[in-house]
Amino acid sequence: MGEEVKRILGIAIPLIIVCIISGVALTASYDLTKGRIAAVEQEKITESLAIIFPGASFTETNEYYSATMGGEEIGYAFISEGKGYSSTIKTMVGLYPNGTISRIYVISQSETPGLGTMIAEPDFTNQFNGKRIEDVRLRQDGGVIDAITGATISSRAITDTVRERAEVVMNETR
């Protein structure tokens, strides 16, 4: 009996020690990088706001950012988030008060490299510029946005979440 316990402990204790060391190392790296990561994420939002409405200043409300330039409200910016093909696609969207999209900018996504990732490139995102909210659908769904060949799911995901969030924000601001 005593021998058996010794044998089992001889196997278990090294594994426990390895797990404890790794736990400590992970906690330490998490703590070290936590502030940096939060700053990077905030930086991304600030950066994308500046791309959507260059030179404007922003005030944050619950649902959206209101963009003002020279004391005048020029539009709204908001983040739309939706499930793509293999990741959550996070997009910053700019909206003019008359209900047209100013432009969109993809903040983060992990779609299929080389295919789904093309939704983040200007060739795709520029299609949204100046479009009315109700027209923001893929062409095959009765809208004006051309899907990326081989990445219809990613294209539809971003297009539909942008439109849905834009409708919500538009109703909020009325």
């Binding site: 001889g10 196997i11 278990a12 090294p14 594994l15 390895v18 797990c19 790794s22 190392a25 992970l26 790296s29 998490y30 070290l32 990088t33 940096r36 990561i37 990077v40 930086e43 991304k44 293999s86 990741s87 983060s108 996504q109 992990s110 490299p113 080389g114 295919l115 060949t149 081989g150």
Partner: protein
């Protein structure tokens, strides 16, 4: 002797073409040259760290639980790489996205831990890890070069265009998984053809 430990991973026992390990990330990430380079950096760091640590503790780890121990060590290093990359190289982190955690299941790393680091001294394991990473890098970047040229008609690394667009109708198939299988198959066939001819002489 020492030199062999380093160079064997690059040519003789190339992890991709000879050992045929780590194909899962290879298929997924070899669509673009810059993604392939990013993945290689991650694999390099994790492979070197885990090989050295596992070799250091090889006498203390009971053989019955060696695999769980290796996995804990490797998974910890991958998570540490991901956290630091997120904080300090957010651009690369965004590109590699879901593939970074996949380094954990990269068979090269567990394979080298099991086959080499758990039996050999630290310095040899260190050299082995460097050699294997270079071999992996050569393989994945080579395949990514072929696939990027054929699927986009150009090569651009981190925004710098190396080969300008030469065709307006590139083959989309090359960027999809079948393109990766085709490329790997053809390169492997060429290597085997060469070594068979060499032996024949």
């Amino acid at each position: 002797m020492k030199r062999d430990e380093l160079t064997k991973g690059v040519f003789k026992y190339n992890p991709i073409f000879y050992l045929v390990l780590g194909l899962c990330p290879l298929l997924a990430v070899s669509t673009r040259v810059d993604n392939a380079l990013g993945m290689s950096v991650g694999v390099f760091f994790v492979l070197v760290s885990s090989n050295v640590i596992i070799s250091l503790f090889r006498h203390w780890i009971p053989s019955q639980v060696r695999i769980p121990c290796f996995i804990v060590v490797i998974a910890s290093f991958v998570t540490i790489v991901e956290l630091f990359m997120h904080g300090y190289a957010p651009e690369l982190h965004g590109r590699l996205g879901i593939y970074l955690p996949l380094i954990v299941v990269n068979c090269i790393i567990l394979g080298r831990a099991e086959a080499f680091a758990s039996k050999k001294p630290v310095f040899n394991s260190f050299l082995d890890a460097i050699g294997m990473s270079i071999g992996f890098t050569l393989g994945i970047v080579g395949i990514a070069l072929c696939r990027e040229v054929l699927s986009t008609g150009k090569i651009a690394i981190f925004g710098y265009t190396l080969v300008p667009t030469f065709t307006q109708s590139p083959s989309v198939m090359m960027i999809l998984p079948p393109g990766a299988f085709l490329t790997i198959g053809i390169i492997m066939a060429l290597i085997n053809y060469r070594s068979i001819r060499k032996e024949g002489r």
